[in-house]
Amino acid sequence: MRLINTIRKKVWFCVNVAFLGFIVATGFALYSNYQQQIHLTHIRDFDFHLAMRSNELLNLFVIQKNYYKESFLFGSSDSASRGNALCEKIRTDIEAIIKIKRSLHRLPVDRVESLGLLQKKYHEYVEQATELYPLLAQGNDPEDYIEALQLLAAAQTEIQNDLEYFSGFYRQHFSNNVTTLMRMTNRNSAVLAVFFVLLLVTMSLVVNWAAKRTLITPLTHIKEAVRAFGRGQRSFPALEDMNDKDDIGELGVAIRTMTKDLVNSTVSKAYVDSVFHNMNDSLIVTSNNFLICSVNRATLDLLGYKDDELIGHHVNKVLSEFFCGGAESEGDDIDAELAFQLCSNAEKIFLTRDGYEIPMLLSVSLLNDGENAAQGLVYVAKDITERKKAEQKLEQMALYDFLTGLPNRMTFNDRLEQTLKQAHRKGQQAGLMFLDLDRFKEINDTMGHDSGDALLQNVAKWLSSCVRESDTVARLGGDEFAVILANLYEPQDVVNTAERILAAFVEPVIYEGKEIFSSLSIGIALYPLDARNSVDLLKNADMAMYQAKQNGGNNYSFFSGKINPRLTGSSNSPSELSEVVKM
């Protein structure tokens, strides 16, 4: 089998096996025919000749006898001489038969001897007959030859009987041999038929086996390997033992090599699916008309859908704020419409099944495979909820005070600016309070920073509770606070607020079982009365606070530059100093 390595050789092998069968069958047929030919030749050369000759001899003898009879009955000398003329011919025939018989060694000798006897008898008969019958024909009285005639008649009868016997025997012999030959022919035909059938079956089996072994099985292996490859299988044990010296084996080896190369150089669908489904980011693929073709598991988990609830639906089911492109005209420019959707790292909102909004960082790109037109869009989105929270936290930290949650100085400046602008535009008044805790340093030093912080948080709470919603409480730093009072109707409102604040500080702050008593000094500046801009206003409020501190703290004081007459002297009455720390 190793030698039969090309398809040509394999086919020729099969053809030659069949041809060999044909040759053997023909050989047997020829041999059979040859045997029959030998028999036929024998029959032609011996049996047929013997039968013919003996029959002819009999006929000749009868003819001769009839000539003699004619001559005897009617006295015809002519007939007698005709009879005599046949003698030589009959003798020759007898000799010919004896010769044929002698050449046949297989015949029994006694028959040849009896032929010799016949020859002798005939010889004697003829000697007398050739003399007597012409004599009688000439008119001699038969009465005188009765004895001789009777002898002759007896010899005649004997010879004729012998000849009839031989003729019959040889005819029978010929017939028997022909029958034997016919039987042999029939038997040969039957044997040949059986032999041919056996040969045909054998050859068919051999050719079938060879074809299966050398052609069909390897091709089947290759076919199955290719199918298995299509299903994703990557190793083919059936192809491993293929010999690359063989045509088909070469094909198998080529396929094996090809699959290995493909495995090395390309990614399988399973691999892509694995990547697709295992990626953490959300991935949605849509068709040209924005119907969802596939979504990955991350998307489903994120949005709470099952995949059959999304596939085939419009992408706007999950993507809020979906806008079609400007190309409203019957989609004659699909690419333009698709291109309108493209974006990179845009912040978009996805809608979950339950209606929640999830901020996503979305990138949309065209789905195409090289030269062809786009087949759809690929949406890759990342959940940025955490980042959004962090950003908000950062913003909080930048604009608000960490400890108290109040707007910090920067925010305060901004708000003050805004408030003043609004007041200016609407011709309203606004007030600014500058607040500073009395003896805060002392509290901090004696009771610890934690207590100080707790105090500051409480202060922030009190301040917030003492002002309107529209007012702004801010911590400017340390123990300094400020309150912006927007849309002020009259200065008395400021006084009321200040007094509310001061009253709130009557209660101590309880921290870790200790009561902390505190008070504060408030400086008030009014817009547009005390200053026309925020910087001056703050400075004036600061100065007023300082004034209040000068007056002993736990007190409020208006900016003194242009003191409102109505307020003068009414507010500067110092309250009793509360006990700072009550153990």
Binding site: L73, P142, I146, L149, Q150, A153, Q156, T157
Partner: protein, 139 residues
């Protein structure tokens, strides 16, 4: 049929005429016990098909020479012409199946031959019959 009938009539007319004109009588030796014989037996004997008397003795046949009586005998008993009878015996002689019977020249010699041979059988002119031989009736 008509022809056959006319032939029969012809022969019926012919036979008595012939018998009147010339007839034969079958004779044997006086020692022969037989009184009568079948025509077919006679025919067999004269054609050499039957060669023994019932008592086992051989039969010696004697014929009359060519003549009216012989002819009548040949036609009447053997259904042959005298020539046919001669040929018949030549054939018999040629094939060796029989020997032609002796043919004696006249009634007298026939009577003598039959009278002298107890096994002989012959025929003579009915007018020449005498007591030296025995007459056999034909059935």
């Amino acid at each position: 049929m008509k022809l056959a009938k006319s032939f029969i009539v012809f022969f019926l007319l012919l036979l008595p005429v012939r018998m009147e004109a010339a007839d034969f009588v079958l004779v044997v030796n006086k020692k022969n016990p037989l009184e009568s014989m079948d025509r077919s037996d006679v025919k067999k004997i004269f054609l050499g098909k039957k060669t023994f008397w019932p008592d086992g003795q051989g039969i010696d046949v004697v014929l009359l020479a060519e003549g009216e009586v012989h002819q009548i005998f040949a036609y009447d008993i053997l259904n042959k012409s005298p020539r046919q009878l001669t040929l018949y015996w030549k054939q018999e002689l040629f094939s060796g199946t029989g020997v032609p019977p002796k043919q004696l020249p006249d009634n007298k010699s026939v009577k003598a031959a039959v009278a002298s041979n107890p096994q002989a059988i012959g025929y003579v002119d009915i007018l020449q019959f005498d007591e030296s031989v025995k007459k056999i009736k034909l059935d």
